[in-house]
Amino acid sequence: MSQLEEEIVDFRTPDGSNLVGILSRPPKDVPEQKALLILSHSGLVHKAGSHRGQHNLAHYFASRGYPVFRFDPVGFGDSDGFTPEHINQDLFASIESGRFVSSYTGAFDYLASRFKDHRWVVSGVCGGAISSLLGGAENRHPIAGYALISCPVVLDGSNFDYSRREPPQMAVKMLKMYASKVINPKAIWRFVSFQSDYKLMWKMLRTMVLRTVDKVFRRKKKPAETKPAVAEAPKAVEKPRVALSARFIKASREAMQRSKMLFIYGNNDGFLWEFTDLYAAAHLSNAKRDEVLRVVEHSNHMFQWTEWQQKAFALIQEWLTSTVLLT
């Protein structure tokens, strides 16, 4: 098989920023499919992707006949612009609120001149997934499919309380892992010699404690007690808990009405439980949830290991051929 072709391109956003992208084309001896995959960043990493995942995705699909376009949105990678100093939670919040919609408009305008006859499928990992969802749903260009990996469904922000974010299922998994080592002399030595990840252990323990407190509190609290007869003086301002993102709900509803959707998560990723317990439980029927959701066993949030990446790519390919390209 001959080499696939890669081309560096630049294009402009409607507000005049110059962005850089890479177009991967199938090798000459592989028939080109009429579907184009589009993706930008991966979490907070530029177009190559965390653990080189997006480069690998581009090569996986281009070698199977699908052109792939990945680009750096404004302020990321080698594109124009600057991301001002942020608390990461606020940077995530801005991404989840459509920070890069304009970058997608620029990419789509550019691609329209070259791939008008292709079906467009947007993809991405973590922040890149929500950017692709918002970029696709909030633009005029028709998107045939959304293949979103580890897509956040909540809205981040330093103004939110994260203390209860970690799902108990993940905390149990982690604590079981540590529990399995309590009689391991090496592990004990690491623990007493300050080499263990105490921060992680405390985080998991705290999750379990807080959830238990919540449970007990809910049981003890009677309905009458929830409405005090006399107004109390306001307590110190409490941060609201991290909750579902209204913009995600709206965009995913619109995308599901117009296009095909696929959500992929690893089962070692707390985002999976946020998707199922917060989003799907409230907004999707069980049948719809099962239709759109695929889980890669053992994978973590960023699909770090090559084997997990390959499984996710295979799921996308199967979905493309069985769903997107059939309609």
Binding site: G49, F76, K181
Partner: protein, 305 residues
């Protein structure tokens, strides 16, 4: 775009955007391997000097990316050009990840030094590197001779990794930590990963290859090159002057790396920078590192004076 080169005016502010331009292109090695490169230049003027900025490896590469970019843009605004790049088989360059080797990385650096020398004749070249890029850079410089060698200043190394044997072996610990979640227990030691990979090319446990760091394959060839195939590593040192900047959380933490590096870099000029490490943090938490950039600027000025 012209001739496969993306030309951009870049910068955080309108003023700096006017002063800086960037050319993103693939450069092809003599053996045909294509390297993703970004050349940042002062707009409308030839640079007074050029920097070859060698990135870290594995996922440190993507974490350090925004900081390297911002520093390159800052240099260009002051008249100094910078070439950044991805090693073959890493980042956006061609090649599958298992094709990355030390010798390939060293070859990339040597090739790009020559490219810069041809592209900017008569201009001094400042070799600069971050983390494991430092070792690749120093090994490439050792092989330089003649006119090109005469144009190179002393290298500037940010948080250098020069003992690559220990580095790769230590990084395997993170792989095993990740594996704990998969297997809910320990299935291999680092020594077993090294031994099996050297013998068979990989270390497989229930369908997953553990000979990897951050998802990047650690091949038998790479293990041999970093010295993990033998009980004792081959001696290595760099006898020429180098500038080293080490980022530490507190001033007292600088002594240990200083001592370790001094053994391998005897003519080292050492500076420490109190800050949060940038190569193992999520990127963009803070793109600009004023103190780090100021120290690096001081090194560049000294090198060019």
């Amino acid at each position: 775009m012209s001739d496969g080169v993306a030309q951009l005016a870049v910068g955080g502010t309108a003023e700096s955007a006017r002063r800086v331009t960037q050319q993103v292109q693939f450069l092809t090695r003599p053996d045909g391997g294509r390297l993703y490169t970004a050349l940042t230049l002062p707009a409308g003027a030839e640079p007074s000097a050029v920097v070859l900025f060698c990135p870290p490896t594995f996922d440190e590469h993507s974490r350090a990316y925004p900081i390297m970019r911002e520093y390159a843009r800052g240099l260009a605004a002051r008249g100094i050009g910078t070439l950044r790049f991805d090693y073959f088989a890493t980042g956006d360059s061609a090649g599958t990840s298992d094709q990355f080797t030390m010798s390939s990385g060293v070859g990339d650096v040597a090739f790009l030094l020559s490219w810069l020398a041809t592209r900017f004749p008569g201009v001094r070249i400042v070799p600069m590197a971050v983390r494991m890029g430092a070792r690749l850079l120093l090994d490439a410089i050792v092989g330089q001779a003649g006119a090109l060698a005469g144009r190179l200043t002393a290298p500037i190394l940010w948080d250098p990794v020069v003992d690559v044997r220990s580095y790769v072996f230590n990084e395997l610990r993170a792989t095993l930590s990740g594996a704990l979640m998969v297997y809910q227990g320990q299935v291999a030691t680092r020594e077993e990963i090294v031994k099996e990979t050297l013998a068979t090319g990989f270390c497989d446990r229930r369908g997953y290859k553990l000979n990897q760091v951050d998802g990047y394959p650690i091949t038998a060839e790479l293990l041999r090159e970093v010295g993990l195939a033998t009980e004792t590593p081959a001696p290595w040192s760099y006898a020429e002057p180098v500038n080293v900047v080490i980022t530490v959380r507190g001033a007292s933490a600088a002594e240990r790396p200083r001592t370790q590096l001094a053994a391998l870099l005897p003519k080292m000029e050492f500076r420490s920078n109190e800050d949060i490490p940038y190569w193992n943090q999520q990127p963009l938490y803070r793109q600009t590192r004023d103190k780090l950039f100021a120290i690096a600027d001081e090194c560049v000025t000294r090198c060019l004076s």
